[in-house]
Amino acid sequence: MLRAQAEGNKQVEVDGATVGDVMHGLVERFPGLGEQLLASDGSLNRFVNVYLNDQDIRYLQELRTPVSATDTVVILPAMAGGA
């Protein structure tokens, strides 16, 4: 679902010092993603999980988690598909 809003890309490169910067950069580039990822106040929707590499940012510093050039931010929305 996200991929459709990102012009079919599974992976994109975005500048940012923190996960939050990266997320906002992403939404700026693909505004359609904003509705899926962000609440009206700009914070992450509760049902969206974000990982820095393989670690949930909830257990790091949330959106303030710093990122480096070799990091990957993974967005994993909740899903229910099963059949």
Binding site: M1, N9, V12, A17, V48, L76, G82, A83
Partner: protein, 405 residues
């Protein structure tokens, strides 16, 4: 020079210490291995729990792989204490430092009321059917017997359930429960390989049972022709050793999760969307639960059904089979199940990725507060022996180029 039997026994007693059952029990409790050298049928009729078994006829051939450390002490026993003395003499000759023999043997051990156990024995037909399992050291006849005594519950006999059901039946999981209220539809047959064209219109539970029994008549299939709800979940899941989640709504997943956590049953969770799948094992309290991972569901418009989004048939097949793999590992207690790990599969680029999951201490289902409340109700974690779908969104990866400023 001729040696009599008595001379051999004297020699044996000179090099190997004899111990009575009470000392053997103390040694075993302190970590010394027991070695049973009786014949296979004697072993099957009953043996000391935790003992190793090498029949005396195979002793020299197998002992080095069974007991590689020649310096480790070992207490050998047989039925009455004669064969074990002779075996101890042989081991001493092979350089084992401290082989001991249990005087009086298993007969005396039993008559003193000490604990003993009988292995679960397979029929000749089962030994043939499961022979490829029996050959694997991590499975063997104990493992196969464990599977036969295990109970696995499938929520859904659809895309995910199909391959899992077939393979757990093949593996000999003795009792398989199937929860599905639906009937077989032509559109199912693009992926739900447990059903068939001539069963369109039949209840899915009936169809699943038919396929399971055709493959393995040993399996006891328990059908639940109902939708899983808050009202029936506790009744349905009770007594199962593992649950395989093939559901398709958030609501069902939360209902299942909370109930499974309450009674301590592990859930092998999977989900699919188009070309992708996700897989993990929720082991109550040892790792996260579904709510730790997803505290809140997305609004329905962001999770359209599979009948709208579509799914490549092989994808639920693949994930279902991976679910069955994890279930078998959980039942046998082998390998590293995906507890605390989320496996993400993408069929298009054939990639597997892993994310680390953690149990949330403040989780309403399995957090510390919830756990205390459950303990207060004396619920103990259970030891294991043993379409309309929503949609899985694609993980989108954003790679930062560098720091700004």
């Amino acid at each position: 020079m001729n040696k009599t039997f008595n001379e051999l026994m004297r020699e044996a007693r000179a090099v190997a210490r004899e111990v009575w059952p009470d000392e053997a029990a103390r040694l075993a409790a302190s970590g010394v291995r027991l070695l049973d050298v009786r014949e296979q049928h004697e072993w099957e009729e009953g043996h000391i729990p935790g003992a190793l078994h090498v029949a005396r006829g195979y002793l020299e051939m197998e002992i080095e792989s069974v007991l590689p450390d020649r310096n480790a002490p070992v207490v050998i026993y047989c039925a009455g204490g004669v064969r074990s003395l002779l075996a101890a003499r042989e081991l001493k000759e092979m350089g084992y430092a401290a082989p001991m023999s249990m005087a009086g043997g298993f007969q005396l051990w039993k008559s003193e009321g000490r604990p003993w156990t009988q292995p679960r024995v397979l029929t000749p037909e089962q030994k043939r059917r499961y022979s490829r399992h029996l050959l694997i050291p991590e499975v063997g006849s104990e493992g196969q017997a464990r599977l036969l005594a295990s109970r696995a519950l499938f929520i859904g006999a659809g895309g995910l359930g199909s391959s899992g059901l077939l393979y757990l039946a093949a593996a000999g999981v003795g009792t398989i429960g199937v929860v599905d209220f639906d009937t077989v539809d032509l559109s199912n047959l693009q992926r739900q390989v447990i059903h068939a064209t001539d069963r369109v219109g039949q209840k899915k539970t009936d169809s699943a049972a038919q396929s399971v029994h055709a493959l393995n008549p040993d399996i006891d299939v328990i059908a639940y022709d109902e939708m899983l709800t808050e009202e029936n979940v506790d009744r349905i899941i009770e007594g199962y050793d593992v649950i395989l989640d093939g559901t398709d709504t958030f609501e069902t997943r939360y209902t299942l999760n909370d109930a499974a956590v309450r009674v301590g049953i592990p859930v092998v969770h999977a989900s699919v969307f188009r070309f992708e799948g996700q897989l993990t094992v929720f082991q109550p309290y040892a790792g996260p639960c579904y709510r730790c991972l997803y505290p809140a569901p997305p609004p329905p418009e962001l999770a359209p059904g599979c009948s709208v989004a579509g799914v490549l048939g092989v994808v639920p097949g693949t994930l279902g089979l991976l679910q069955a793999t994890e279930a078998i590992k959980v039942l046998l207690g082998i390998g590293e199940p995906l507890v605390g790990r989320l496996l993400i599969y993408d069929a298009l680029d054939m990639s597997f990725q892993e994310l680390q999951l953690r149990r949330d201490p403040s989780c309403p289902a399995c957090g510390d507060g919830a756990r205390e409340a459950a303990a207060g109700e004396a619920a103990t974690p259970k030891a294991t022996v043993s379409e309309a779908a929503g949609v899985q969104a694609t993980p989108l990866v954003a790679r930062p180029l560098g720091r700004i400023g």
